[in-house]
């Protein structure tokens, strides 16, 4: 069960090698979290992540999960929930893709959309219904500021996150009053292996900063969290900017 400050005792990470997710898990383990499930493709990286968290004192288990295979989600996640309540599920999987390449290779673009959006829709719905059955829990969805307004430089990724963000907001409203809390997290540019080699955007942040914001959001039972918080204002301004101007911005 979560405590008065929203800190979970059990955590399910979908996308168990995500750096943001692991930073969040480390932070929560330092507080209350004892049971961690890392769901992801069964790779050495997933096992490495599990042993890293085990070293912090948590009981960590891994479960095979593939975002691109929605048919398997019910079974894979059902196994996790059958073992006991999950106080918080962190939907953290996602790929950035390669915008320039994917524009020429629609199959690559579709893979971004299927991972970030349709995969998340399936896993999100499966998780939400399990949380609803147990009457409590937080579903934390890692969205992105890129979904707030599509940019020329990464609109394939951005559109997938826009879809995910809208989905998660709607899901949060659907689950209002069921004891389940849905929180959308919108980080800006996060310095991690996913963005390695990319030019750094303004207001860049770190996985640890996102983890801090998640913990704060849990305590406040926030429905949306921006990291850093200033991006809420910045993105609101960008969102209302006329297209003709927005297009010319060096973003």
């Amino acid at each position: 069960m979560k405590d008065a400050f929203g800190i979970p005792q059990s955590l399910l990470v979908l996308g168990g090698t995500s750096e943001i997710a692991l930073a969040t898990a480390r932070r929560l383990i330092a507080r209350r979290t004892r049971t961690v499930w890392l769901a992801g493709r069964p790779t050495p990286a997933l096992e490495a992540a599990a042993s890293e968290l085990r070293a912090l004192g948590a009981d960590v288990r891994t479960v095979a999960f593939d975002a691109l295979d929605p048919d398997s989600h019910e079974v894979a996640l059902g196994k996790v929930f059958a073992e006991g309540d999950i106080d918080m599920a962190l939907l953290a999987f996602g790929i950035l893709g390669d915008q320039a390449h994917d524009e020429r290779d629609p199959a690559g673009a579709v893979r971004v959309a299927q991972t970030n959006y349709t995969g998340a829709v399936s896993a999100g719905l499966v998780t939400a219904s399990a949380l609803q059955a147990q009457g409590h829990g937080s579903l934390v969805v890692l969205s992105s500021v890129a979904g707030e307004r599509a940019r020329r430089a990464n609109f394939i990724y951005g559109s997938s996150k826009a879809g995910l963000d809208a989905f998660a907001q709607g899901l949060g409203d659907a689950l209002h009053g069921t004891g389940v809390h849905v929180m959308v997290v919108r980080p800006g540019f996060v310095r991690s292996k996913m963005t390695a080699g990319l030019p750094q955007a303004p207001w860049a942040t770190t996985p640890e900063a996102v983890a801090t914001a998640v913990e704060l959001g849990l305590r406040r039972r926030s429905e949306a969290v921006w990291v850093p918080g200033l991006l809420r204002v910045v993105m609101s301004a960008l969102r209302h900017m006329p297209r003709t101007v927005f297009r010319r911005l060096p973003l």
Partner: protein, 451 residues
Amino acid sequence: MSADIVSVTGWGRTAPTAARLIRPRTYEEAAAAVRNCGARGGIPRGLGRAYGDAAQNAGGAVFDMTGLDRVHVIDAGSGIVLCDAGVSLHRLMEVLLPLGWFVPVTPGTRYVTVGGAIGADIHGRNHHVSGSFSRHVLSLELLTADGEVRTVGRGTPLFDATTGGMGLTGVILTATVQLQRVETSLMSVDTERARDLDDLMARLTATDHRYRYSVAWIDLLARGTATGRAVLTRGDHAPLEALPNVARARRRPLAFRPARLPAAPAFLPEGLLSRTTVGLFNELWYRKAPRARTGELQRISTFFHPLDGVPHWNRIYGRHGFVQYQFVVGHGQEDAVRRIVRRISERRCPSFLAVLKRFGDADPGWLSFPVPGWTLALDIPAGLPGLGAFLDELDEEVASAGGRVYLAKDSRLRPELLAAMYPRLDDFRALRAELDPRAVFTSDLSRRLAL
């Protein structure tokens, strides 16, 4: 019998979870509800004054017992009442005071049920004299997981598991309670100020035995030499001759008409209780108290239940709610109390409802909270940054001093510390495993702490 899915929290309004709220109107309905409560079990709930998650059960059933609220028998000669567990102490006072009887123990609110009072084994300002509520319970009827009703008498393991058992042994249906004789419905109160914590503890140690009721409000925002300054209010039920001759009171000495203000509005902004506002309040509260005053007549509601005057006062903490922290450490652990008070005061926790009290002898309930020693209770807004880690540190201090925290107020204890705080925990778990193998009685508290 109605059942709705509703979001349930404790009085502190933290960690809401959803449950089917079932309100039985007869014992048969209650038994049927227990038999059919499903895989996630059920938990009885009274008036929801437990601060944390004791009376919520995510995804399962919550039995709202306030529909069973009949006072069956009053023996006005010997002062014994047999009533349903859903009867509130407020109702008991309304019924009993005109007959010259008072509840044996009352907490800081009248709006708790008899069932809740037994389940949390509540204590009051008279603990050093009268012990906790269960000491005055002669017997009770318990609806257990098999759907049967058992009569549970004092001195049995089931009685000791149920008193303080947080509703996890079954649903209390009725209780027979020994009452306290009173001549009037007024209190004769002595008030004095203590200039710091040492002064306060010395005064409580020296003179508590002269009073049936004793409590000290403590200013946890005072620092430096004033750390732990306090206002002691102690007293007893006023005898008839203490009432002034001319007053109307003499004609109706047992009248009970508590006044109530309008309820706190449903939506209040965050941060009403900041360090500044609470500091100001505490300063005024301390200054307005007389240095020493004796024999002041106060109404029962003024003396025991000042907060009941504002319905829904818990809303003033805003939508993030608040945490109540109450611990007890034994006699001889005064240094632990000093250290904890100093840490709270150095941290500037905006707490305006902090009380210090000396407990008397413990009662046999396995998970009953009071043990002889010092207890400190305080309210803190849950949104205060770093509060979780800070309270964890206080827990360590309490546990290493051989103390414990109060489960009826808990919403955040680290489960690993529980066994050290409650040595009879294993007995409690064993009894539950035998009596209720399918864990029909389950609450968020029992899940969180693996009770």
